[in-house]
Symmetry: C2
Subunit: 279 residues, 2 copies
Amino acid sequence: MPERVAYFGPAGTFTEEAALRYAPQGELVPCPTIAAVAAAVVAGEAQKGVVPIENSLEGSVTDTLDLLIHQSNLFIQLELVLPIVHCLMVRPAAAQKDIEVIYSHTQALGQCREYLEEHFPRATLVASLSTAAAAEQVRKSDHPTAAAIGTARAAELYGLSVLSRGIQDNPANVTRFVVLAHTDHPPTGDDKTSLCFSFGNDRPGLLYAALGEFARRSINLAKVESRPTKQSLGEYIFLIDLHGHRDDPGIKEAIQMLRAQASVLKIFGSYPRYAASNG
Amino acid sequence: MPERVAYFGPAGTFTEEAALRYAPQGELVPCPTIAAVAAAVVAGEAQKGVVPIENSLEGSVTDTLDLLIHQSNLFIQLELVLPIVHCLMVRPAAAQKDIEVIYSHTQALGQCREYLEEHFPRATLVASLSTAAAAEQVRKSDHPTAAAIGTARAAELYGLSVLSRGIQDNPANVTRFVVLAHTDHPPTGDDKTSLCFSFGNDRPGLLYAALGEFARRSINLAKVESRPTKQSLGEYIFLIDLHGHRDDPGIKEAIQMLRAQASVLKIFGSYPRYAASNG
């Protein structure tokens, strides 16, 4: 039986592309929200869940961070990094000069801003719930002059023609996805560990002391980030990605020391570091 | 002549509310994007610009952070904190039981998720570019059964009736806004300073060492956050809000030390700390 893999859908989004890359033979299950992906794995409707966690231009996908922090007890088992290639697509008969309305997710519209200003200064930009929803809107639209920005696969799924490929302004546009599961990954020798922690109060030096536990043991931090606790403005939860596995003795010890200082500490998992050569 | 204040519009958004609070007598100039607000101030079309920078639930407004980091040489002159009160609004004749479609910005839809699931489990949720645009869509819609989520002022502006007020799931929903100007603020004795810095390379202990400059001088950090450099995944710019003014001797010294280690350091400004009692 093929593995069932839930992903933040619908079909035709970049997350579907990541899910296909992760499980080419898997049975893919689209979910309408990031929370629904986790729920599908928790409920056993899928063994794995694929969600975006970070884009090189936009930063973190806060819905995914907040899910890991507040709601889910799933682990990160794997990470994948995919280049984001935006395409401009229209109905088969339409030509570039006819385009008056362009649909896409606001993030995709933002990532193609310079291209749009140069080529479609007078077009109306309309927000969609996802890049795939934009393609669907164009397919169903009464407007023969509508276009969408999304994946090449969305064009294929919705019977649209790609007029231009790679229209994003910044070529360094990649997204990191994570595979959520009931367990994380055994050590491979080149791993990352993600965790979060917070302090019950606002004392100044606490984050500094926490980072010291890692610095003192020469543990490389790949990322330090903060999210609101959602209780009061100015209270934060810190998220750290570090190089190494949570079973490595030095990391184990640093986390133990940190746990003694923090009011909350949650390990999201250890997983193989994605090698650029794989991409 | 009244002061001209640009804000991230259109009229009827929470940012307009903040701009009105900041300059009740000012001439308010709505701008379509956060970048356009800064551009209006730089071009002299407005003396000040009001933009959102952080929400207690959603976290930072990354467009504003990226503007401060990458584009603008404006300063933060003031901060304001406003409670976010979402209203459900319809055309005057419509009743709650008729509602089939609900428009709003995706963030507002997300902030009212539990309310919507409880009261409108079957309604179609449609993304809008802003809460005010949602109100306008309802005003212009052929659907007599459409509703919007937004500010009470948007209801007023677009001739809609408020059916429910304060429908956000979490009462601790406040947004911090900043006033951008050509200068920051002289010391008041209770100030904050915002700045960012990054390191040319990825050495582990650098952030730790940087934070040490502040910890060693007992300077309280209100916030530590990271944003992508937009050059390569895994390279970050760190943003810090600290308590105190950049003219305070200890802070001046810490920033000097930090500047010697960082490849980039930019001060966004010092400004009076917003007192909760003002809100």
